[in-house]
């Protein structure tokens, strides 16, 4: 069933392709339409197809209509490399996607060798852009950016004595290391750096130890279950020092575990959720998305795919060409604060997005997550 459907879709696309080949600009979309990330992939597809339809309603690109060629990567590197190979034979000038870092990594070399510009939307692993591929870009931040933003938030808060707590997981320890490195480079005073054991219930011994270090602020880089318990037990101790968390605490269960009173005032870093996107363009876009699909976009990564499509369209329009080297010229240095839905977009020479995507959220007394301006 699935295969036959896919064949049917492919046949339709091929029919369109051959009929319109002469007067269409093809942009590929590689997304996990099936598999465990299918909800992300479906949303990427909705975003990009909506934008392509809008672009065509405005007369397309360079006088030609835009055609989206969708390939399913299944959230799996092997499927993805086959999908990328298929895209190279379909005459696409650029590819949006994909979501998972390991999945994107399996496609990078294939697309780069074929001279196709790729703009990934959810792949945050640092190494992807450290390879210095010529045609690879991404609209999402890198894992190490959160560390820099975290350090900046701590310094801006004016804390003199900073405590960092992680849970020894690769992600949380990496983030804590990154923050500590930035803080130490700025000669800030890190008075505490240690890990708790996740999945325990009683963190009072750790909180007591933390308290003895007399920090002005504590940054916990781990996940929401532990963060919730820490906040609850901190309140039970009657300790008032503010806590800040990383994006792994962005889960409504945090407030359930901690209780509203203990969670109120807790701040954390996270990419904005689509409902909090604040530019006029983004608001208009969310409205038209709601009109087309009956609901607002729920994932920021879908909107980052939309931004991927828009920078490609912008580069094609600015360079009046589909030549990958000319597209790169526009993308690197030629964008100059392009107004993306997720904020201003520009790329550096590695293909990483310049500027901060992470925002600060605060838990309100009623227990909801409120974006801080």
């Amino acid at each position: 069933m699935k295969i036959s459907m896919r064949l049917a879709v492919a046949a339709t696309l091929l029919a369109f392709g051959s009929a319109r080949a002469a007067d269409a600009i093809k942009i590929g979309l590689m997304a996990p339409l099936t598999g465990s990330w299918a909800s992300e992939g479906q949303e990427m597809k909705r975003n990009v197809e909506l934008l392509a339809a809008e672009q065509n309603a405005r007369g397309g690109l360079l006088g030609k209509r835009v055609e989206i060629v969708v390939e399913d990567d299944g959230g799996d590197p092997r499927t993805a490399s086959l999908a990328a190979q298929r895209l190279t034979t379909r005459g696409v000038v650029a590819v949006v996607g994909t979501y998972g870092s390991a999945v994107t990594e399996a496609t990078q070399a294939i697309l780069d060798e074929a001279g196709i510009v790729q703009v990934a939307n959810g792949s945050t692993a640092v190494r992807l852009t450290e390879k210095r591929l010529k045609y690879f870009f991404r609209t999402c931040p890198r894992d190490d950016e959160q560390g820099r933003v975290g350090a900046a938030v701590l310094e801006k808060g004016g804390a003199k004595r900073i405590a960092l707590l992680h849970d020894s997981s690769a992600y949380a320890k990496g983030l804590a290391d990154e923050i500590a490195a930035t803080l130490r480079a700025h000669r800030a005073n890190v008075v505490f750096f240690d890990a708790l054991t996740p999945k325990e219930q009683d963190y009072s011994a750790i909180l007591t130890r933390l308290k003895a270090a007399k920090p002005d602020v504590v940054f916990f880089t781990g996940y929401y279950p532990e963060a919730g318990l820490l906040l609850k037990q901190k309140r039970q101790m009657g300790w008032k020092v503010p806590f800040i968390g990383g994006d792994a605490v962005n889960n409504p269960d945090l407030v359930k575990i901690a209780g509203k009173d203990a969670a109120a005032g807790f701040r954390f870093l996270s990419p904005p959720v689509p409902k909090d996107l604040d530019t006029a363009e983004a608001r208009a876009y969310v409205a038209s998305y709601r009109k087309r699909y009956g609901e607002a976009p729920s994932s920021i990564y879908g909107v980052l795919a939309a931004d991927g499509f828009r920078v490609i369209a912008k580069a094609i329009e600015t360079s009046r060409s589909t030549d990958p080297d000319k597209l790169r010229q526009v993308l690197v240095g030629g964008l100059k604060d392009f107004p993306g839905f997720t904020g201003k977009i520009a790329f550096n020479g590695k293909g990483d997005r310049v500027g901060e995507l992470y925002r600060v959220y605060e838990v309100s007394p009623s227990g909801s997550f409120v974006l801080q301006k």
């Binding site: 020894s168 240690d194 890990a195 708790l196 054991t197 999945k199 325990e200 219930q201 009683d202 009072s204 011994a205 750790i206 007591t208 130890r209 308290k211 003895a212 279950p225 919730g228 318990l229 609850k232 309140r235 039970q236 101790m237 009657g238 269960d253 359930k256 575990i257 209780g259």
Partner: protein, 300 residues
């Protein structure tokens, strides 16, 4: 010095929970020479059942907080006792005369079964107890100690003391001790050994389930894997004190809690568990039968 006393109360609170769970391991071992690996999962089951009963009956609202919680505790402990008896009947009694290893494997199987059943019934996400306990704290030795923490320690101590008196002073307790020393001789003296074993599987799981309820009420967050880490620590505590020895389980639990708290306070947090288990290894090298020793004359 303030940190020292603070960590002392932290260690006692965690340690009394470990001790309460350790009793279940040690009693079963005393009578059957079996490590009941499913005991930690009976503890999680107690925490989940407590949550269900608490949210569906809301007894604390009808009977007042203290009485409501007491009734809740009796209900949870009763239900877990029933599960314990069924577990013994289904998973352990058929293997009573088989090699010891078969019973251990059966215990592991029961543990995996209970853990997965919990996950399938309640879901893999963390569940949260409603906040019904008072948040007050009193000043003791110059530091603020939450009242509920003292209550947790007191409840655990009362339960342990009650068990000790029961085993030492009552006829049934004497029968239990006799069965622990020698099952065959005990049955020749007219003691119904099956009844004793059933009683052990009433009391041990009931205490474990009670500990689960206590943890749920006090810490608020319950997950289906919580029985594993608590079970490991409690098992360690039982061995530390001398497995099969009831006062040993209490001493071992409190000691393990204190070692963890002071390890976290004065050494590294991340190495807290490594430190606690390092102490275990050291003690076992010096005293292979545990601190109070596996009593040779009476195992329970």
């Amino acid at each position: 010095m303030e940190q020292f006393f603070q960590q002392l109360t932290n260690g006692l609170a965690v340690g009394s929970i470990y001790a309460l769970i350790a009793l279940g391991y040690t009693m079963v071992y005393g009578v059957l020479r079996l490590i009941n690996f499913a005991h930690g999962d009976l503890f999680s089951l107690g925490a989940y059942l407590g949550l269900t009963l608490l949210t569906s009956f809301a007894l604390q609202g009808r009977l007042g907080l203290a009485l409501g919680l007491l009734v809740l505790a009796v209900m949870v402990m009763g239900l877990i006792a029933v599960v314990g008896v069924v577990l013994e009947r289904a998973a352990y009694r058929p293997l009573r005369d088989s090699p010891r290893l078969s019973a251990v494997v059966s215990a592991l199987g029961a543990s995996i079964f209970l853990q997965n059943a919990l996950m399938l019934v309640y879901g893999a996400r963390y569940q949260v107890y409603p906040d019904i306990l008072p948040q007050a704290s009193i000043r003791l030795l110059g530091l603020d100690v939450p009242v509920m923490r003292i209550v947790v320690v007191l409840v655990a101590v009362v339960m342990m003391a009650g068990l000790y008196v029961f085993v030492q002073k009552t006829r049934t307790g004497t029968a239990m001790r006799a069965a622990a020393i020698d099952q065959d001789a005990a049955s020749l003296m007219g003691i119904d050994v099956n009844r004793v074993v059933r009683l052990v599987f009433v009391i041990g799981p009931a205490l474990g389930g009670g500990a689960g309820l206590l943890v749920g009420l006090y810490y608020g967050q319950v997950g289906f894997t919580m029985g594993w880490s608590y079970g490991m620590k409690a098992f360690t505590a039982a061995i530390l004190g001398g497995i099969g020895n009831i006062p040993g389980a209490m001493v071992g639990g409190l000691l393990l809690g204190l070692v963890e708290a002071f390890g976290a306070a004065y050494l590294s947090l991340a190495w807290k568990d490594a430190f606690a288990f390092g102490v275990l290894i050291l003690i076992l090298i010096v005293r292979p039968s545990g601190l109070l020793g596996e009593r040779v004359a009476e195992k329970i």
